[in-house]
Subunit: 209 residues, 2 copies
DNA sequence: ATATTTCAGTTGCAAATACAACGAACTAGC
DNA sequence: GCTAGTTCGTTGTATTTGCAACTGAAATAT
């Protein structure tokens, strides 16, 4: 898997030839979309970085997913419930393609190149999303804060084939991503440093030995 | 979403006309597949019930996913690492279709009906899987054992549109699914009962008002 | 029919984690 | 360069959770 997506060509075709898609721009901290009501919306992040964030009723905050270019998201992948509020927040300036799930199967009159390759590309994007979500579950199902931290860092380390990993979060957001209290996470990072397992400078971590 | 899949017809076509797929049968407690080595395998559960289970190095056990008919799984959706062992275990007798990810795009000579509808069906199956995984993340990212229990039960309750929910697990497995200690879970269930929030009989829970 | 294993339900205790709070360091805007 | 708002790093304390252990009930195997 991890098939390289030829999204640039694919998506340019889309925006040129197909009327059922919108390309939108968002600035840092803007809300790209919310998962409050069902509308079968699909979004594809073309550039930038964004997080799917949940605010609990008691003010707690969790980062559910972290999106990078080629990530696919939208409330159509979610069971929308009233229990909590989900929104996708731009972490930097973002370009986003937005269309409806129904458009996937409705081929447009001109039978544009986009629609011809859409299914295959979507399949690959969705497969990658499933892999990402499974990786996410791998981390948050770890029982202890220590295992969550090490689990996430070692996945990054394997991915980049390097003992050095830079988390794409502030430490505050990292705690929200791991679903743990920030001070508890900091304490555990301190323990890992004291035990000589990792070192840390800002949000760059290094596995020692 | 939640489009009803016409999988019976779809999958019968597959098994009749296409040589690139295998249909296999498993009895209760048999291992259907493992996620130890990369081989781009896709499985579709036709009947029965199965769990994706992780055994940690220190003997801990987590139920990562719970599969029902039409669930799609396989190591092709997973970043296989050496850190832990993942396997899919049949909870009852199971019928499973097994084929390779690569076969999706290689149309067979006869251009069987299966290959004609495969992409669309896979898209729907994958979309459903993404929804399932997001639901899973919704539960395990809850911060406390109480919120995990209530979160899972209320999702089931909403889904079935009933105050009564029956979990598809033993209580021991339920704890592994929520990624919490069994005794801690039992204690919290007791608290919820004492506080009059839920009642419980076996693995059937009821929300009280 | 009986033995063996698994599961449910508890509990005491130790360990991990959340909560609250604070000052220092850093960032962004004016 | 100053100010306001975040983020980082830390700590004391209360609460939650995990661990270990055990009993009786239920399920499964012999």
């Amino acid at each position: 898997m991890n098939t390289k997506l030829n999204t640039e060509a694919f998506l340019n075709d889309f925006s040129i030839s197909c009327s059922c898609v919108q390309k939108k721009y968002f600035t840092k901290n803007q809300v790209i979309t919310t998962y409050i009501q069902k509308r079968n919306q699909i979004c594809i992040l073309l550039s930038g970085e964004a997080d799917l964030v949940r605010y609990d009723l008691n003010g707690g905050r969790s980062i559910i997913e972290h999106f990078v270019p080629n990530s696919i998201f939208g409330e159509c992948f979610y069971n929308v419930t009233v229990n909590n509020e989900l929104s996708v927040e731009a972490k930097r300036n973002c370009e986003v393609l937005i269309f409806s799930y129904d458009n996937i199967f409705k081929k447009c009159k001109e039978s544009c190149k986009f629609h011809n390759t859409l299914s295959e590309n979507l399949l690959k994007m969705l497969t990658n999303k499933v892999i990402d979500l499974n990786t996410r579950i791998e981390v948050v199902t770890q029982r202890t804060t220590r295992e969550k931290i090490l689990g996430y860092l070692s996945i990054l380390s394997t991915k980049n084939n390097s003992k050095n990993v830079t988390i794409p979060f502030s430490l505050t957001d990292f705690a929200d991503f791991l679903s743990v209290d920030r001070s508890a996470m900091m304490r555990e990072i301190k323990n890992l440093k004291d035990e000589g397992i990792i070192s840390k400078e800002g949000n760059k971590f290094t596995f020692l030995q």
